[in-house]
Amino acid sequence: MGKREKILIVDDEKIVRESLYHWFEEDNYEVDTAEDGETALQKYEKGKYDILLVDMKMPGMSGLDLLTKVKEIDKDALVILITAFASVPTAITALKNGAFDYITKPVDPDELAHIVNKALEQRALKIENIQLKENIDEIIKPDNLIGESYQMRKVYELVYSVAITDTTVIIRGESGTGKELVAKAVHINSSRKYFPIITVNCGALSESLLESELFGHEKGSFTGAQFKRKGKFEMADRGTIFLDEIGSISPKMQVELLRVIEKKQFNRVGGNELIKSDFRVITATNEPLEELVKAGKFREDLYYRLNVFTIVIPPLRERRDDIPLLVNFFIKKFSTAMNKKVKTVSKEALDFLMNYNWPGNVRELENAIERAMVVGKSNSIMVEDLPFHLSSNNFALNNDVKSLAAMERKFILNTLNENEWNISKTAQILEIDRVTLYNKINKYNLSKNDY
């Protein structure tokens, strides 16, 4: 473990000392308290504190007097003063005397956290923290990004090569391929990894909601906004913003987005304060952006701004080698969550999973395994546990089956073969009459020797 930062809270009110004590203790600080200036000074002389939170008005030595004396001992000491009433003269006096900042009681928790963090960062004490973070690197890896296939190894290579730069990245791939996980992989391998990655699903929100979501809003800026809210761009400061389904944003939002990406500053909705934020942009889409640009539905300038470095995630049907790994991963995940003893998958079920076309990609596979584990009765996942209506026919959609007619042909043939060409039984299963079945057999020129 790295060194915990030491904080000294000086306030004559026991209740305030206790509140702040608990607040900072939970936040991983080593906390000490003093009930007056004299005690605080004695403690400060004996032990080294990284930061002091001092009440201005105390009996005996005032907060300002304590500030002066502490500064005589260490001119770099970080002191934050606490006042009951905010006033300009108070602030000027405090800051003139070397206080880092001052807060007015009661203080917004977010503001208190921000001021203390800012103070400590200024003194570069965060280096310790970063070392601590390096040690626990492993915990922030997206361990659910699974795949050892050649195609996925190529994706990883791209991720690692672009992560260390601050380049804007666009991730393309079908729905359910794991674009968000790849975005996360880029983020956690970058120097921004100690700050959050903020995901916004642009397709899920209306224009006005998206605006408020991205830029935040001030209290009272619209009916119902009883509290202010910071936007996603603000929250992504020093981190990454991941804009999913970027192709679905409105023309107005495209303009706003272009502006904020270029200037890295904006106003909250209903606010005048200019907010600055240092963020990296990663976007994702499964839409053909180039066609949207041609059709005039997506701004060309925004397209070029976003389309700097592209990572394409292959669909699951193009990396079937990863299916066993993924299946095992999901079995492990759901057996823990459901408290089930399912450990493996039967050969038949795995064969089926390997051959299925997976239009919904990894997400569909995950859902299939989850469903199979809910309905399954044995320690293995069986074919009949899988959620596909056609599973008993071992109906595999290969790459050569692309048209509806080809699919119908293969389906009918499979059902016929499974029922040893018993026409009545097959027609019953297919829920068509025998004449229709004969017509289909003729149409597709099916025979008993076909497979």
Binding site: P106, A113, N129, I139, Y194, P196
Partner: protein
């Protein structure tokens, strides 16, 4: 060790039910609901129009001597500790009691639009967070961990909804 939920002026039974269902999936411990005879009016601050969290916990300690387990109180009123304008919750670090307010977890206070799913998600996160403190966990630097600090609603929404590998080892009977 069982987990006791004590609703205090908390009337959203559907949320309570959904929370219990979710917790039951995650913990091998039994999740029980108990009534605590606490009159919240005794802890109301007329100046702040909020309820003093630390004092409510102190009262709960007196009433739950015979209970072996974690006692997490759940309320819909707005709570505070001196110095701070509000808190989502307060817990005894490595202790038995915590108090969670869902008052400021309601989406309608921010966007004007009610969202029950989001309320449940936020409640689960903050419940696990306060419970984590009761198991001795301090704030975690991993944004995917529910123990990441959340001084505002934005952080509640950003952070993960489960414990990271480091923190999970300290939580008794946590399944995933």
């Amino acid at each position: 060790m069982d987990i006791y939920l004590a609703p205090l002026r908390f009337y959203n039974t559907l949320l309570l039910q959904n929370l219990i269902t979710e917790l039951s999936k995650r913990f091998s411990a039994k999740i029980r609901v108990i009534d605590l005879d606490i009159n919240l009016d005794d802890f109301f601050s007329i100046d702040r129009k909020q309820y003093f969290s630390t004092q409510i916990i102190a009262e709960a300690i007196k009433l739950t001597d015979n209970i072996d387990g974690k006692v997490i109180m759940l309320t819909d009123v707005d709570i505070f500790v001196p110095v701070l304008t509000f808190i989502f919750g307060e817990a005894q670090l490595n202790g038995k009691h915590a108090l969670l307010s869902v008052c400021r977890l309601h989406e309608e206070f921010y966007s004007g639009i009610s969202n029950d799913n989001l309320l449940l998600e936020r409640t689960i996160k903050e419940f696990l967070h306060e419970l984590g403190h009761c198991y001795g966990l301090r704030h975690c630097i991993d944004w995917d961990c529910v123990m990441h600090s959340s001084p505002g609603i934005e952080e509640v929404d950003i952070k993960g909804s489960s414990f990271c590998r480091n923190c999970i080892s300290k939580i008794e009977g946590y399944k995933y």
